[in-house]
């Protein structure tokens, strides 16, 4: 295959990855890894490098739009970034000692979990009673609703912080944003309304991915010939996805994509189990 053909096919694939990633809320990185490994037979280490770039591009692009609306809780994001960046650095370290087949199996499992999380019932309620720690850290805030600002408070800050560290480890190990784990920490543990948790999670993904991307770049995991179509394709797809989201109700699409992603997850686990990586 010539470089031109490779670029054109990959740009199209990355565009779809960005589109699916933004419509399901899973992020572009999650689709880039199976695309590169299963379709193009690229070594999973190059795929992880490319996925990190996709995650950063996706997060920075989308976060800038959400911040405009004033939903993102910047203080909460900053505080939890301590957990995710420590986790990301640890994950990038662990990656050196983890066989690629094991990484593929872990990736498949996280993918299954993420697909399930996308379809779960979301936390809509805003807490009126928060914990002391949350007040001390100034994490309680409000976001614009249809009838004026809605205030919310947080609890279980320690529990959320721990899950965030795990999310960081997964992000550093696999190159994905692990948005599903981040939302689990904020939504289920800290009881934050899902509008705030999804946008704040997205806001944090860029910084988390950057913390391990600096390691992977120096390890030589980032190849320019792969990076070029992936970065442009994913960004284009994410942009289209964000436009579509305001016009259509993505619930049906979400279910279709989640079923598709479940198949991909089993494929990754099977191939990892068969030592195909």
């Amino acid at each position: 295959m010539s470089i031109l053909t490779f670029t054109l096919i990959l740009i199209l694939g990355a565009y779809l990855a960005g589109l699916v990633g933004s419509l399901t809320g899973l992020g572009g990185g999650v689709v880039v890894i199976p695309l590169l490994t299963l379709v193009f037979h690229v070594d999973i280490r190059y795929a992880i490098g490319a996925a990190l770039l996709a995650s950063i591009a996706n997060s920075s692009g989308a976060a800038s739009a959400y911040i405009k609306e004033g939903i993102t809780n910047i203080r909460l994001g900053m505080f939890l970034e301590i957990a995710t960046t420590i986790g990301a650095v640890l994950g990038a370290l662990i990656a050196v000692y983890t066989p690629t087949n094991t990484i593929a199996i872990i990736f498949g499992s996280v993918l299954l979990f993420s697909a399930a999380m996308t379809l779960r019932k979301k936390n809509q309620e805003a807490l009126t009673e928060g914990s002391k720690l949350s007040a001390m850290l100034k994490l309680d805030s409000s976001y614009p609703g249809p009838d004026g600002p809605i205030s919310y408070k947080l609890k279980n800050v320690g529990g959320g912080f721990s899950i965030m560290t795990l999310a960081g480890v997964m992000s550093g190990l696999l190159g994905i944003g692990s948005g599903a784990l981040k939302v689990l920490a904020m939504d289920t543990a800290m009881k934050i309304p899902f509008k705030v948790s999804t946008t704040t999670s997205n806001f944090m993904i860029g910084v988390t991915a950057a913390a391990s991307a600096v390691v992977y770049l120096q390890r030589g995991y980032m190849d320019p010939i792969i990076a070029f179509p992936v970065v442009l394709g994913v960004l284009g797809g994410a942009f289209t996805g964000a436009k579509l989201l305001t016009r259509i109700n993505p619930q049906t699409l979400r279910i279709i994509f989640c079923v598709a992603i479940t198949f991909v997850a089993f494929e990754m686990i099977y191939n990892g189990y068969q030592h195909n990586f």
Partner: protein
């Protein structure tokens, strides 16, 4: 009665400006992220077009086996040297570098913003995050 109303008005104005400032900071953060991603994109595109015009018909490298990138693509100096000699792949890699730096710059800007707001707690929290990323960059974790 009159004085009460005016003092209330002043109070409202005060909170208005505080909220306005915070929203300004958030808007700047958003603009910073957008500009970073956009610039990185343009640089990657320029490098990519150059790459295709020079090597488009060449066979693609075998990515089934992991070899890792050479020093010209993994060190700052290497990328900059390649950039100034107008090498297509180095230009793409410079765009990649810009993309990675964008969220880190966002942290640095937040540090400045929290300092202006005199929010000491969050100045410390932001410094911890920035410290972890700088440690990750310069500690040679690459192995």
């Amino acid at each position: 009665m009159d004085t009460n109303i005016t003092s209330k008005k002043i109070d409202m104005k005060k909170t208005d400006t505080v909220i306005l400032q915070e929203r300004d900071v958030e808007k700047t953060v958003g603009k910073l992220l957008r500009t970073g991603v956009f610039t990185a994109c343009i640089v990657v595109l320029i490098g990519g077009i150059l790459l295709l015009s020079q090597y488009g018909t060449c066979a693609m490298p075998d990515y089934r086996v992991f070899k890792g990138e050479g020093s010209e693509f993994i060190t700052f100096d290497g990328i900059i040297v390649g950039l100034f000699t107008f090498k297509a792949m180095a230009i793409i890699q410079f765009g990649v570098l810009l993309l990675i730096i964008t969220p880190i710059l966002r942290i640095a800007f937040s540090l400045f913003a929290f300092a202006v707001e005199k929010d000491r707690l969050y100045v410390v929290i932001t410094m911890i995050v920035l410290g972890i990323i700088l440690f990750s960059t310069f500690s040679g974790l690459k192995i």
